[in-house]
Symmetry: C2
Subunit: 450 residues, 2 copies
């Protein structure tokens, strides 16, 4: 009898693993349980669906359930929720339509994803309070906005999702208030870059309430009508909570799968948990940060896809390391491109044993004489002891999203700041000054590291 | 008495060296001889001046002669041509305004640049035949175009300059014919990328004559009136020759400074020639290609600036390596960004001892559901024996110019194609698919290298 590979969760990690395993070993039985109706969807596109740039929710779907079933021969069961893992008996318990079934496995992948968190304040469960937790939620928010034509939104949290949604709501003519408990938006991007973003948000008409934790949401007859923060109440028609996500680890933890220091599921270089037949990948699992060489929790799409794919190979008998990451992220905030990679935060760097030295520069995106250029702000961080590059953050109207990738590659290679300064980066007047802003940043930081 | 550092040539390499040396050692006497009137100018911007995107020729000047003299305290003498170097006596002979003077040096930098070549065919010296050799020539071409309002131009050579000038002339309503003797334009970018560029040029209304060496230029009363190529005559109102440049090595060679295998001036890791008091940098000198670890001639702006700056440090007593390059170039061709780095050409790779394997992919510049994306074509080349990355070429309407930089950095680090596949490159729907096109290319090439 053929081996059975069971996958719990049908998004990026799960479907990548299932597809890859079935492609590499057509004899393998591959069964995927997904509790929702959508699989393999681009959750990162939801803000643009709400904004209206993307017409249909289905447009976000990369591969449909039918395609997985018919073209990729994966036994995909949507509307099926795995409620227990019996590692001794090697089977999972699944609930669907009120029925319960048992599915044996030879190898199992836990790819249960993550869920949006809500701050523990009064009113967060009222009507009119949304999170962008999944496709269904994206659909609800857009319907709500189109049907009720609200005038004002309170966004709780100034992270990626909060700011992407600020752009989406603003495009629909909604007055946007963002409440951030920290002194700056986009905490992982560092202060110099955040300040540029904040100025831009102000220019776009977004009202920022920084350093302002929400004390409670004001409700009326079970509906949210205001945000109470910093001693003041802002009347709103609805609220979007974007305060981060938490890994869905309960199913695994109850089965004795070990969690790591970050609270996400721990796994080895091949994505294996403490049970050699059980793998974990995607937003429920940790990943190795190559800068610190330690486990980290940075749940993003590329890591999920990559880990899933590697595990799909490993389960077919071709052991493949899942690989590490360096915490790269890029986000569009209105007209700005904002990107980061590696370790930027001083405290985080010191905790990892580094002696962080930082430099921030501002340079033009094009040759000084070429029209249409705009400033790029770059913060570059290096280790005072070894000279090693630790991370970077940057922001500008153009040429940022992919400019970060040279720094990403340098981090993977373990380059020093001095080595970055010698890179033969691309130059032509429409695209860069002769000294690319990354080189200028490395030169300035190098001067401080000497 | 203070030491004297003499620089021959006042463009990127020369002025970078002069400025850096004077800044680091204010006691050093720094004398620069430039035979023209302009120094430190952005020759790369000339096509955009001709196009009209840049209003005044002076806008291309980064630092004026007055600023060098007054703010940077460099003894800059424009209109002064160095005609001989006496290495025994350590002095140069200079001609200016019909006078001849002798200038002693303790250390000398030869930064004599390069000149535009012309093919050895009849008619190339006729009236109405231009090269874009320097600022003065840029001024002449724009004046000619504005004053005579020509209808048709023949461009000889489909390299960077030829195609940038095609865009410039087309923007002025001139009918453009490009004559290229090779089967494709942009030879250093490889065939797959060149084909995309050729299609785009056709869409823009440029007439390409590929595989069509010019046999002669047709003249009438000393003026060019046609291009004879491939057995046919194309009537033109003027001709722009962009068939490459040649290093100005005569001054150095006559003084016994050694040239390298490429025909440009040879120098060591610090930019020193065979005479320890004589340095060479910029478009007259070689540079080390880090992919082959051999001397190469890729005369581009960043290398000139970088080598000049390093030599400026070395002459003040802080020995600084000039660093290598990987042959990175990017060019805008109408609406396309076209970029390359490393070794792409199969023959060139084999000559350097590699076993080149190439893969070409086409991927989208944005997430599949995000509007406004466009295809990016990437050719990636690796070494079949070691799996090492050798080079890349890419083209697309957006996201190419700086996307090449991740490959550049990987080349500097000596990464394998398999390592490139693991890079944590930036992803967000407006800027990239989850798997960046570079990762997709590495995956496909990796499959061929296995």
């Amino acid at each position: 009898m053929a081996d059975t590979f069971v996958v719990v969760g049908g998004d990026a990690a799960g479907m990548s693993a299932a597809s890859k395993a079935k492609r590499d070993d057509p004899d393998l039985d591959v069964v995927v349980f997904e509790r929702g109706e959508y699989v393999s969807y681009g959750a990162c596109g939801l803000p643009y669906y709400v904004k209206g740039d993307i017409e249909r929710l289905d447009d976000l779907v990369a591969v449909t359930p039918e395609e997985f079933r018919e073209e990729r021969d994966v036994d995909l069961r949507t509307g099926h929720e795995v409620v227990a893992i019996d590692r001794e008996a090697r089977r999972v318990t699944v609930e669907a339509d009120g029925r319960t079934l048992e599915q044996p496995y030879d190898q199992l992948l836990v790819a249960t994803g993550a869920r949006a968190t809500k701050p523990p304040v009064e009113g967060v469960d009222a009507e009119g309070v949304f999170t962008l937790r999944d496709m269904e939620a994206g659909g609800e928010i857009r319907s709500f906005v189109e049907e009720t034509e609200p005038g004002t939104v309170g966004i709780v949290g100034g992270g990626y999702v909060g700011l992407e949604m600020a752009e989406a709501f603003d495009a629909r003519g909604i007055d946007v208030h963002v409440f951030e408990m920290l002194p700056h938006v986009l905490q992982p991007f560092g202060e110099p870059v955040a300040e540029v973003v904040e100025e831009h948000l102000g220019e776009q008409g977004v009202t920022l309430h920084l350093d302002t934790p929400v004390s409670h949401l004001v409700t009326d007859a079970g509906r949210v009508v205001g945000v109470h923060a910093g001693g003041e109440e802002t009347p709103v028609d609805f609220v979007l909570v974007g305060t981060g996500i938490r890994p869905n680890v309960e199913l695994a933890a109850e089965a004795g799968i070990e969690l790591g220091p970050t609270g996400a599921i721990a796994h080895d270089a091949y994505g294996r948990t403490n049970d050699e037949r059980v793998f974990a990948a995607g937003d429920c699992a940790e990943a190795t940060n190559l800068v610190t060489a330690e486990a980290d929790y940075v749940p993003l799409a590329l890591t999920a896809n990559r880990h899933g794919r590697a595990i799909g190979q490993t389960v077919t008998g071709e052991p493949t390391e899942v690989g590490g990451m360096v915490g790269t992220a890029v986000v569009k905030v209105f007209d700005l491109e904002v990107a980061r990679t590696g370790i930027i935060d001083g405290e985080e760097a010191r905790d990892a044993g580094f002696d962080p030295v930082s430099a921030t520069i501002r340079a033009e995106s094009r040759a000084h004489y070429y029209p249409g250029g705009s400033p790029i702000t770059i913060q570059l961080v290096g280790d005072g002891e070894t000279g090693r590059l630790l991370g970077a953050s940057m922001v500008g109207r153009e040429g940022v999203a992919k400019r970060i990738d040279s720094v990403v590659t340098a981090l993977h290679a373990g380059m020093t700041v001095a080595e970055v300064e010698t890179l033969d980066l691309a130059y032509a007047p429409p695209f860069s000054p002769v000294w690319d802003p990354v080189l200028t940043a490395a030169k300035v930081l190098g001067g401080k590291l000497d």
